[in-house]
Subunit: 502 residues, 2 copies
């Protein structure tokens, strides 16, 4: 009997977040739900991460409504979300009561599995969220952000898993957001956790495919005893996305492992998303190959392009090599945080400051907070001279407590502010949306009644529309909004001439 | 001490054959040769396959001159070629003396490693070529074409390896041209060959990446003891191409295996081919993702599109599903040949005939020859009724001997014919070129003195050139060859108007 390997499907969340800037509309997801629900997945990741922000910022779509739709259309499958611990889905720490309200509401609306992580791997920032998930009777998954540094060893990751287990999580996720996890290390970490926490502890593994090696890492993790792996339907996979679900299924044939996925349904899903992908051409990542440079530079692709654009804005594009050399130094001074949002931006911006203005002549406000412990604890000690400099600059003392312990109750204040906004429906859902994205929520509430926008465009319809416009308004006085095409005779030949609006 | 895994780099042959229709010009290869030569490869595959044909058909380039260039620029690395056994690089069986002449000339010109295969895995079709390579003192690699069918078992592949060993080959290659080789089978076959032929027998493995699983298969082959793997620099890899060289290197970190490749040189090569790839945009494969359907359909992607276009030409595009169901039946009747050129075309065309005209109402000439043994032996018995029908239709008896045994000496005749062609240089090289591609060679000899063509185009230069043309010939009587752009005023606004040639 082959051992069954569970699979989490990423197509409705991280796949389009990684490959098409989180722009997929609910309208394009709905036709896939029945097949996703019946294909035999352990869970379908479909909410959280950047999707909440994207819904209200770009799609005029209520994220709570989206969750209700998924719950209705996928009654047989666990729904899964990604949650940034004490940050929820926003960009700051929230007071515990807000965290509890958010999780209770998400659970009530249909969420089953909460994957909870912290950018610094500070377990204190997961504690409140994990307890709230448990209280709601749902599946709490504690997450280890995988990274590499002189301090990040197998033993250290295993010890973090042990501490997550002590917190009472239902499973542990190894989250490899930068595709840094090599096969040998994947095997060692999974084996180490199983041996330290018990063979019964449930381990999930999440990898991206950027470096091209991580399907092999999934194989090794499976050999080491991993219970569930994350993949994405092939038509929206690879590059900065994930390994293809269908390849995982085939990879296991003949081995002592198997999945219980339904291949005909996977094929239907592949063909369906093949028709959706080109509709989002303007948002598609232009990376389709592999990038292995990160293994040496330690700098994720997104961080690299951020730093490049910062430098160019300062007319210093030619100093990129210096900045790349500065990053490891800044990261060391900051106690080796994993480089993931927001620590990647904080470290990257400080490295740019150091090169342009002189090393640590100016500290960014976020770097000050990182050095003073306001994001949480780092794995390594932070440079004490810089901590002193940060403290002096910000006129505040470094902290060692859990950052959220310093926050005052804020629910009533948030509720009062939200309810004042035109279009706010007065429910906890809207208060939570406002809490996470105050400005964007205000605008969204006021336009919500216009209904969801679908930013996908039929790639075939575009030229036809242009010709049609040409036929009705060609040469007339109507202001141009689209290209107009004429047939023009030149030297006895007929040419198509296109006039584009200025 | 980690075991060293040798690597064959494919960028100069199979990578651009699989991904850009074999169009890369020698001019775009030359700047990479020094790095390829110093990077630590066991060999660089750079000749044979479709490159010979492409050189004279599209690039006005002498393939023998290309080989001399490689030999001069890569003095430290084994040069490797792919040879279709008794077919050499052409599309028919050649008499033994022609095979011997070709191999002697290639060896003399600088070739080190000859990978010799036969589409039907009929070892008799490899015999003459292997002997000629040995006689020239070069490395003869015997090849097993990997495929799947009820008759293709691990034992069968191991037994073929044993017979190749008996032929005196220097190494054995497992060639997985359709990316069908799954990790478990890769392990079993490599282990089986090592156990049957001896641990010292040298095994190479060649996979494509079409199905997304084969980097895992390389890992398993390495664990089973494979000696050398084929990969391609990442900027020209994946899709119907190959696994990225850099990913292979990183995948082995921390394991008991390693490569001796120089990472900084690999990075330089990656960056270099990143600048070359967009120059061939018009030839690039539009498949960048993975295709796993072949595991069930058994029909390689290239064969699928061939059959589709045949059907469409007959106005029967809607009957594709029937043809796909017919293919396995025809393949079984033909004795389960691997589906690779030319057997894939022969089986595919016959399946189309069967659907459009009635099953086996008409046999194609090539199908007749396949059924009568004129391509060689197949692994399974061929349907005796169809053999009788083929024999009757073609008025010839089935054969059981090696097909080339029926051929009369042809060298003198080929030489006489070649020397009559305008532009033929009278050397054996030209006679061999003519022998393989009589029509194309005749045209090539007559234009050779104009020198090699580079079909790559600078993607950035195109719009600039169009504007420049517009500036000098806009509106004049010069015949148009490129789009011309005008500034046109319409309703007080200036528009750019582009007129394209008809």
């Amino acid at each position: 009997m082959a051992k069954n390997i569970d699979v989490t499907e990423l197509i409705l969340r991280d796949a389009h977040q990684s490959l098409m800037a989180t722009r997929m509309s609910i309208e394009d997801m709905i036709p896939a739900c029945a097949d996703l629900d019946q294909a035999g997945y352990w869970s379908v990741e479909c909410w959280g991460g950047a999707t909440f922000d994207s819904c209200i910022r770009f799609l005029n779509e209520d994220p709570w409504e989206r969750l209700r739709t998924f719950r209705k259309l996928m009654p047989n499958t666990r729904l899964q979300m990604l949650l940034r611990g004490q940050n929820l889905l926003g960009y700051r720490h929230y007071e515990d009561h807000v965290v509890e309200r958010f999780i209770a509401k998400a659970a009530e609306t249909g969420m089953d599995v909460f994957r909870v992580f912290d950018a610094l791997n500070d377990i204190r920032n997961l504690k409140c969220a994990v307890a709230a998930v448990k209280k709601a009777g749902k599946h709490a998954q504690g997450t280890i952000c995988y990274t590499t540094s002189p301090l990040h060893t197998t033993e250290q990751f295993v010890s973090m898993a042990k501490r997550l287990q002590d917190l009472g999580v239902d499973s542990i996720c190894i989250k490899d957001m930068a595709a840094l996890l090599k096969p040998h290390d994947a095997y060692q970490i999974v084996r180490g956790i199983k041996e330290s926490c018990g063979e019964d502890v449930r381990i999930h593994i999440h990898t991206h495919s950027t470096t091209g090696v991580t399907l092999v890492s999934l194989m090794k993790a499976i050999e080491a005893g991993v219970d569930c792996v994350d993949t994405s339907i092939s038509s929206l996979s690879l590059g900065p996305g994930h390994n293809p679900t269908e390849s995982l299924v085939e990879m296991l044939k003949g081995t002592e492992f198997t999945t219980s996925l339904d291949k005909p349904r996977l094929l239907k899903l592949k063909q369906y998303f093949n028709t959706i992908r080109p509709r989002y051409a303007e948002f598609l990542s232009n990376i389709t190959g592999v990038e292995t440079e990160i293994f040496d530079s330690q700098i994720p692709g997104g961080m690299l392009s951020n730093m490049e654009s910062q430098l160019k804005q300062q007319g210093a594009g030619h100093r990129m090599a210096e900045v790349m050399e500065e990053v490891p130094r800044v990261r060391k001074d900051a106690g080796y945080p994993p480089l993931v949002t927001p620590s990647s931006q904080i470290v990257g911006t400080q490295a740019v400051f150091n090169v342009l203005l002189g090393r640590y002549k100016v500290l960014s406000a976020e770097f000050v907070d990182l050095m003073l412990g306001f994001y949480g604890e780092t794995i390594g000690p932070r440079n004490p001279e810089l901590v002193a400099q940060a403290s002096k600059q910000a006129k505040k003392e470094p902290i060692t407590c859990r950052p959220a312990d310093l926050l005052k109750p804020e629910w009533d204040e948030l509720r009062t502010a939200a309810l004042l906004l035109p279009g706010c429906n007065g429910k906890d859902e809207d208060v939570l949306t406002y809490a996470m994205f105050p400005q964007v929520a205000a605008k969204f509430f006021s336009t919500r009644d216009k209904g969801p926008k679908n930013l996908g465009k039929d790639p075939a319809a575009k030229p036809a529309a242009a010709v049609a416009t040409g036929a009705t308004s060609g040469g007339g006085a109507t202001p141009m909004h689209e290209p107009v095409t004429y047939d023009v005779k030149l030297n006895g030949h007929t040419h198509k001439v296109t006039v584009s609006p200025v």
